[in-house]
């Protein structure tokens, strides 16, 4: 059974302008998401890590410069019209900004009614109203408080939940959530993330949760992909990666999260990055070499492969070169639940 959506060695390079180098947004990444085993995969990284690029590529909103993205075995760029419609039904998205995603001219009903109309999800007006009401309730909203309002009359949290409802309407197999809660108040994040978790557990929808917030990724997802500067640094079961990180970057990330503890050990740790303007990194060599406390001459020579250190863990670090190297397309196996 072909995976629902598959990235086959995709890379994305943005062409440079006059006198500017081209930027590698994503180095060869392979990933497969199967519809039969719904789970939440977190993609964690800082800005510039390539996580948003990955989201756009998987959603078909951008084209890879290398490799291809396949929907049920067919290249996204070569889909026929009805296949494309099916793709849009199966793969939906929730974006970061709960303001810009609403057309200020219309009430919020518009953003829910449009997919119902375009995909003919209801036979009549009454049926459409029912479907929309039901979906809003599924994300913990009361239809009478939401419908008929303009976007600016709802709070950020409500707007974001309506977006989740919109994605849910089409009963997709995969929802790509790009920083869905970073612009929402901390106290409301849990509700939205819980409804995402419910979508997976109760409705069988896989979620690709893209974020820079490792803590929420730990709480809500099953597997995790840690990206650094367009490369995969570490991937695997979230419990292992977060409680026992192996890649120096993952370790750095985790230590950099300030905890609400009495012990004040956060400020004192050092990290050498940021002392100088971002330099152009040599094409070969590990992308983390300039900041790694464990760097060796080997690291500067070649970019490390992904080594499978545990059945459900892969790390791109030469420390682990005595473990078997993971063939490119097999990352999915490490992430399989």
């Amino acid at each position: 059974m072909a995976p629902l959506i598959e990235a086959v060695d995709v890379s994305k390079r943005f062409a440079g302008g006059l006198g500017r180098e081209s930027t590698l947004a994503l180095a060869g990444l392979s990933l497969a998401i199967h519809a039969e085993k719904p789970s939440i995969i977190a993609v964690v990284g800082e800005s510039g890590s390539g996580k948003t690029t990955l989201a756009h590529l998987l959603l078909g909103l951008a084209e890879p410069t290398g490799g291809e993205v396949r929907y049920r075995g067919s290249d996204l760029r070569k889909l026929k019209r009805d296949e494309r419609l099916a793709f849009r039904r199966d793969v939906q998205a929730v974006f970061q900004d709960p303001y810009g995603v609403y057309n200020p001219f219309y009430r919020v009903d518009h953003v829910l009614a449009t997919p119902v109309r375009r995909f003919r999800l209801a036979a009549s007006r009454a049926q459409a109203r029912e479907l929309i009401g039901e979906t809003l309730r599924a994300v913990g909203l009361r239809p009478e408080e939401i419908l008929g309002r303009f976007p600016h009359q709802l709070s950020g949290g409500q707007r974001q939940r309506v977006m989740v409802a919109r994605a849910l309407l089409l009963k997709p197999k995969l929802i790509v959530a790009d920083e869905p809660v970073s612009m929402v108040d901390a106290s409301l994040r849990a509700t939205i993330l819980s409804s995402l978790r419910k979508l997976t557990d109760e409705h069988g929808i896989s979620i690709l949760y893209i974020t820079h917030d490792l803590a929420t990724a730990y709480q809500v997802s099953d597997t995790i992909l840690v990206l650094y500067r367009a490369h995969v640094a570490e991937a695997g079961a979230v419990e292992r990666v977060v409680t026992a990180p192996q890649h120096p970057y993952t370790q750095l990330l985790i230590s950099a999260i300030p905890r609400a503890h009495v012990a004040r050990d956060w400020l004192v740790q050092k990290d050498e990055a940021g002392r100088a303007p971002p330099a152009v990194i040599a094409a070969q060599g590990c992308c983390f070499a300039d900041r790694c406390p464990l760097v060796t001459p080997v690291c500067l020579g070649a970019s490390p492969a992904l080594y499978r250190t545990e059945p459900r863990r892969a790390v791109a670090c030469v420390q682990f070169r005595h473990h078997p190297a993971l063939p490119a397309g097999d990352l999915g196996k490490v992430l399989a639940t």
Partner: protein, 317 residues
Amino acid sequence: MSERVLRVEGLRVGFDHPQGLVQAVDDVSFALSPGERFGLAGESGSGKSTLALSILRMIKAPGRIQAGEVWFAGTRLADLDEEGMRALRLSDIALVPQGSMNSLNPVLRIQQQITDALADHGLRLTRGEEQQRIATLLAAVGLPNSVARMYPHELSGGMKQRACIAIATCLRPKVIIADEPTSALDVVVQRQVMATLALLQRDLAAAVILVGHDMGLMAQFVDRLGVMYAGRLVEVAPIAEIVTRPRHPYTRALIASLPSLERRGALAGIPGLAPVLRDLPGGCAFHPRCTLATDRCRTEKPKLRNIDGAQVACHLA
């Protein structure tokens, strides 16, 4: 009580809206000791940013300061005219506003922006003194001297923010107000910027007011924390107290909503919606979302009172 460098008493700030007055800051009082790190935590609608701006009298119409006093090292700020306030801003109390790293002038080099700030305050320096000053400033925020001749777009987010801090502190103020200085930055860069701020603060012997919403960050950085909700201070206490024994239900819920990195399946939030300042419920503004609300909470607004070492505004504390 040691000499307080900043004192706010009964500050009330409102916004005139066609549909009624919006009380953004409601009767807020607190004091800052020299060299102290004070946190102001709150979410949207809490009024913390408005409070920061109104300390420096930077609220523009339709907002206005309705009541209250601000004292800086013995001077009543209400006594100062606009000229006096201008002199005070930056040289005595500095503000690093929200999103400042995106407000750097894109067509001026960093050194130009620093000298502009110095010149605005009537500081006339020779070329050599200027260069020296800039070099010292940049070193204080951990930036190499080469940054002086760079344009903002050549710097990374963390470097831009540190440049903003350098500009804000170029006149060695005694109070630094930083409004969400790291909200757009990644965790690793955030730590660098906060470490820079800590070093700088020690060097200047200045007090810092950190405005933000990340309780983890507050726990690791500040000495004392004030929690705001719907324009009022609901709890003020030393940070260790707040982390181990939060007294206000909102503070407790805020800390509980921090996702844990030790144990999974512990996602907790606060039910209900953020307060709409134009349309606050009667009594305690938090009562619709509070699991312990009583009838008294629904009708009577609680006042901030002292309870062994902390200040809490809750009928049930």
